[in-house]
Symmetry: C2
Subunit: 450 residues, 2 copies
């Protein structure tokens, strides 16, 4: 795939098939904002569902939470975000553009458009200034009585401030975790890498509270566990790597961080960060709020340490699409196919009447479709040549297609076509639902060959 | 239930069992903001999943969309929200409180706390002023180059601006619909009715695009369809009513609106609004953007009319909890039970080892739990007296509990306890999973008796 896939091809497929559209397009668009179409919604929801299964449903030690996007402003003072969550920006006095001071080597001067980076050295740059990345708003209907508030730049803090509530009610003793999926917002100068970095995005974060002495062990555990999750869902191991942060790039709250990186068309980039946050957050919120956030059980009393695997929904979805994207020549024609893991595929099976105007074929196809959709996401497609319909299903990543043809009227069999191998077999129509369900349930944990 | 349930009891249960917490509590709380705990997340996700099934998965004429919360600001100019989406507020010069001018009869003066409404007539009120309900923010890292933006007050506009993209790609001809679930934000003076009205909330909106001549018929169809959805999921018909808006209360975009109202402890209040929006939105966005949003198919060309069923996730969840809440005396003790529809219940089945310290019992219970959780959300509970564990499951609405006792060791049977009837039967442990799955799948469409 590394040979054929480019970001442009993913963007183009996403648009063509309705996965992702540029947001507010009829108004000229809004930079770094995207809307998700039908298949994009289904794929994104599948990514979240697989994460929730692995992190909450299949475990006994993690519970779910959904905190507000707008929290009390003191939360962001305590967390250090008001003070320290900013980008250093420089302005060019000549070309009037603004750049991130720490990324000048990737930027280019506005006066001399060029494909070569590093041309900002021709600019006349101001000294760097710091700009907070949090979107600010105001609660309360009128200016004079309102209160400043922020859109959360991460979901994590909503978890820390609920530590005591959850620990009491969930009757959990460390090690235990609190998991949350939700939107976060960052007012960033972005470089436009499609849905890799956007103004608003969805996070899947889990804060794992552990006895301090066990923190390093759990840190290693979660790096491995999360790496395996991506592999289990089909990312090639050769496109994944774990990169430990050097001491100079650690965030202020972190004792140790490793990024799981994916080889995007834009190069190796962060897919997920696993951070050993120590007692930074619970201590900070205890200090600022006056509420002791600690673990107490009889004589035992301590502030748990936190290990946090923090993944991005949108960039995971992008990685799954990039890794699944393939082109091949079949019978002299270019075939584009998304080889998505069936557990992620937006549509699991398509039902295609070969000759839609044949009423008998259409009736049988429709009945099969109605049966299948009771258990899996199915699609009925009767428009256009069969080859075009296959190509459409290939491009949205549908693992199986069932075709009803004239032979079906004779012997009640249908063909099942495999998206990846292109193999077609005839199976009894009465077995079709079971065959699809079995293939879907089959253990696909083995990584794809490179 | 009308006899026993009060908002206080729902708030208290929500907190006690970890459905809903006041947001930012350790910082003194944030008015009209709530965080959802484990069971709250599961219940809320079930509400959304049932809506998505009914509106998208079980139909061929509706596709999904997930648009941005922050859209281009022109969207809100075109929609009329910048100009017209406000509350009229008055200030009291004496008690310094602020009231909604259109709700003075429900307000009370700050100087004379009283349970009787209408006491604002003792206040010295200013003339009403209009305050826009949209949260405002700014995109771009610095003030001087940024652009004003708003957090969406409804998800609907994100659908209208994507009409053309979706219609082309989904190859749909009216009537067809676009459905979206997502957060919306309103900077309101609220009266604090728990999660009925909050600063941020989740909407489930569907815009149904139809040929103009069919709009009234579809309007009636959707009022009925949506009413039935609530009944199917267990709300008593006697607690539901359809209330058509009078001409004086219609929104600026609406030709006809009916609210589905629920009898909350605070009285009849809107659960969902179904609006016949005519061509208001597509025409407004066509005019402002210059992009013609219309249906074209050969000679046929028109601006579709729109019928919109717009439901609230949080207030639906509240209605389901209120309707399900029950208290009864059982063997001289008060039992609190949430009689939630199994399709909504956060946990479907609990596995309870009667004597947890009996290793054989614990092993069998654990094995059964591991088997059950592969297909349904199950919970293993071995802490405390069995009666306390039952009460806990009753309060979170778990329809069935399986208890493993000494008899299980003799004959491999378990008891299955029904949350509502309290009936207990012994069934073979090998049949337990099938029994739970069958009961869950059973058609529960018949409305509950009052």
């Amino acid at each position: 795939m590394a040979d054929v896939v480019t970001m442009d091809k993913i963007v183009s497929l996403s648009r063509r098939r309705g996965f992702v559209f540029p947001s507010s397009e009829i108004y000229g668009g809004l930079a770094s904002a995207y809307d998700y179409g039908h298949y994009g919604v289904l794929l994104k929801e599948n990514v979240k569902a697989r994460w929730f299964e692995a992190m909450v449903r299949e475990r006994d030690d993690i519970v779910a939470l959904d905190s507000s996007i707008i929290l009390h402003p003191k939360v962001w003072e305590a967390s250090g975000h008001v003070e320290g969550f900013h980008d250093p920006l420089v302005d060019c006095r000549t070309c009037k553009l603004r750049f991130r001071a720490d990324q000048l080597e990737h930027s280019r001067c506005g006066r001399k458009p060029s494909k070569h980076p590093g041309e900002t050295d021709e600019c006349d740059l101001t000294e760097p200034r710091h700009f907070n990345l949090m979107f600010k708003t105001r609660i309360g209907p009128v200016e004079e009585t309102g209160m400043d508030a922020y859109l959360r730049p991460e979901t994590a803090q909503g978890i820390f401030i609920n530590f005591k509530n959850v620990a009491q009610i969930a009757r959990r003793k460390p090690p235990f975790g609190i998991a949350q999926i939700g939107k976060a917002f960052r007012n960033e100068v972005t470089t436009g890498h499609f849905i890799f970095r956007t103004l608003e995005f969805e996070q899947m974060e889990m804060e794992y509270f552990v006895p301090p002495a066990e923190a390093e062990e759990w840190f290693r555990y979660w790096v491995e566990e999360r790496f395996r999750w991506y592999v289990r869902l089909g990312l090639r191991e050769s496109h994944l790597r774990v990169r430990p942060h050097g001491p100079d790039e650690l965030s202020h709250y972190s004792r140790q961080t490793s990024d799981i990186e994916y080889l995007y068309p834009i190069g190796w980039s962060e897919l997920e960060g696993i951070a050993h946050r120590g007692d930074y957050d619970l201590t900070a919120h205890s200090r600022t709020s006056g509420t002791k956030l600690e673990w107490v059980d009889g004589e035992e009393r301590y502030t748990p340490h936190v290990v946090e695997p923090a993944a991005g929904v949108n960039r995971s979805m992008l990685a799954f699409m990039v890794d699944a994207y393939d082109e091949e020549e079949v019978a002299g024609r270019l075939r584009v196919v998304l080889r998505l893991h069936p557990a992620l595929a937006p549509v699991k099976v398509a039902v295609l009447p070969l000759i839609p105007r044949n009423a008998e074929i259409a009736t049988k196809a429709r009945a099969l479709y109605e049966e299948l959709r009771r258990s899996v996401v199915a699609e009925y497609d009767d428009s256009g040549q069969i080859g075009r319909r296959y190509r459409r299903q290939d491009e949205i990543g549908t693992p199986w297609a069932l075709t009803i043809d004239e032979q079906t009227l004779v012997d009640d069999t249908v063909t099942i076509r495999d998206r990846d191998s292109l193999a077609q077999e005839r199976i009894p129509i009465s077995a079709a639902r079971a065959v699809v369900e079995d293939r879907l349930a089959a253990d696909w944990t083995s990584p794809k060959a490179d």
